[in-house]
Point group: C2
Chain length 285, copies 2
């Protein structure tokens, strides 16, 4: 890697705060297994022009406004130990939660939907993300099962794995809320202590617990995944509601339950949640 | 938990696709340790009105358009086993990556900044997020050190922990890209196999590797965290570049290096990356 190329900084006119010109990017072309990578220079014609950004709500941020990571600014960062991680420093960027929320015209939060398997958590999550999207709000669904396809695929269903599954989803949801997004986490999360630990991770009011208070009989009669049948026949052990407890929230922000045995529609439940978000100011920056 | 309340669905006028009315939310007021939770009903006055949403770019999404999780729609979901997770189903929501990208007028991707400690990864990440924000684009920085304060605080610095640290950040970055966000991951990530594993997680073109090709002498002379000094004196073991190898990328999309020994400014490097994003179509939906 002897020959390198970099676009000289003079390409960017001094004092120009937002602008694009010509630039170059170097890539490495692999010549296959065991081969020597060769270098190519590829010019990129930046087709951006100021009028491309009409209607976008960018805002000027002072250079190094809040940034503590510029090596020219400070010689020593404060290091700390967190858990098993030693000698790590917290970097703060000039663009923070507040700036992202202004851009999105909404406030980041975590809507934590808890309840038995078959209580309609994923259905509510989807309906809520759909209703929010139609109003122009950015949300993202973290579904317990979906996250087990990726981040949490190393975890099983024994007690400590379930706790770790919930902890990680809580931490990821916190990052999404910090990004300014309305994060909808949908997972059984049967134990109070695990949910409360997630609540404790973030500013109190940004954790909105939604309890799907649907009786076991209704959930079992749905059995969308056929899991209750497997649990009743003993083919699955430790199934919430059958041979493992579900601890209902004591202080959930929103409780959704059937009236006279009839479950409300997903859309009406979603609007219930949206009313709450609106009331609490999450639908504006 | 005998008495429950739910806002009847008739509050939402039939056929009204986007609308708000009055709603109620039930919360639980805890009476302290060991106490009995009492129920209170709190009316929420939805102050939303149609004109609140002028200028927002919401779009109509068909109900149950793509949703496969409605229990009234399908009786059985397809279950699978992934890693240690058994009997999990993938839920697809009607609002997907494509819809979120339209809302944000950008495409989600992962900008993976790799390089030695002190090479300026975090500085570039901050400058890039600042430049993007000023143009009205939503980005989010996943800083290796910052994530070790939360999601990865259970991990240390031994080989398998470093791998797991990178795998988790890759998985989280993938979720952010899926959310439509320009996710900027900034971490040493010294081993090629770990970075390539992250690349393999997502659609190829959405993983943009940025190699900070700054010579060790420059990084060590900065030593913003004082870690090189500790590593040289043997107080830290396995430090990248000193007694642990750094494997440079063979196929990085962008390579940033000094010219004639002078490092480019963070802003000029950020604009280099933005030119690439523009060229590849990430700055439009």
């Amino acid at each position: 890697m002897s020959s390198v190329f970099f676009c000289p900084s003079t390409v960017w006119p001094a004092g120009e705060k937002i602008g694009f010109g010509y630039s170059s990017v170097r890539g490495w072309r692999s010549t296959g297994v065991g081969g020597v990578a060769s270098v190519y220079l590829r010019p990129i014609r930046a087709k951006m022009a100021a009028d491309r950004f009409r209607g976008r709500s960018g805002e000027f941020i002072e250079e190094n406004g809040k940034c503590d990571c510029s090596v020219t600014e400070r010689n020593t960062l404060v290091l700390s130990n967190v858990g098993n991680s030693t000698n790590i420093a917290w970097h703060e960027c000039p663009v923070g939660k507040h700036e992202r929320q202004k851009l999105l015209k909404q406030k980041g939060c975590v809507i934590w939907i808890t309840g038995l398997s078959g209580s309609g958590k994923s259905t509510l999550a989807c309906a809520l993300s759909r209703e929010l999207h139609m109003l122009g709000y950015l949300s993202y669904v973290l579904d317990g099962d979906n996250v087990r396809h990726g981040l949490n695929k190393d975890l099983g269903f024994k007690a400590e794995d379930r706790s770790e599954n919930i902890r990680r989803i809580g931490e990821v949801a916190k990052l999404f809320a910090d990004a300014g997004i309305i994060c909808i986490a949908s997972l059984i999360s049967p134990y109070r202590v695990d949910r409360d630990a997630c609540r404790a991770m973030m500013p109190y009011s940004t954790f909105i617990e939604v309890f799907m208070d649907i009786p076991l009989e209704i959930c079992e009669s749905r059995d969308a995944k056929g899991l209750y049948k497997l649990a009743r026949s003993g083919k699955i052990k430790g199934f919430t509601g059958i041979d493992d407890p579900y601890e209902p929230p004591l202080e959930s922000e929103i409780l959704l339950a059937p009236i006279d045995g009839v479950c409300p529609s997903p859309v009406s439940m979603a609007k219930q949640v949206i009313s709450y978000l609106d009331d609490k100011g999450f639908l504006e920056a």
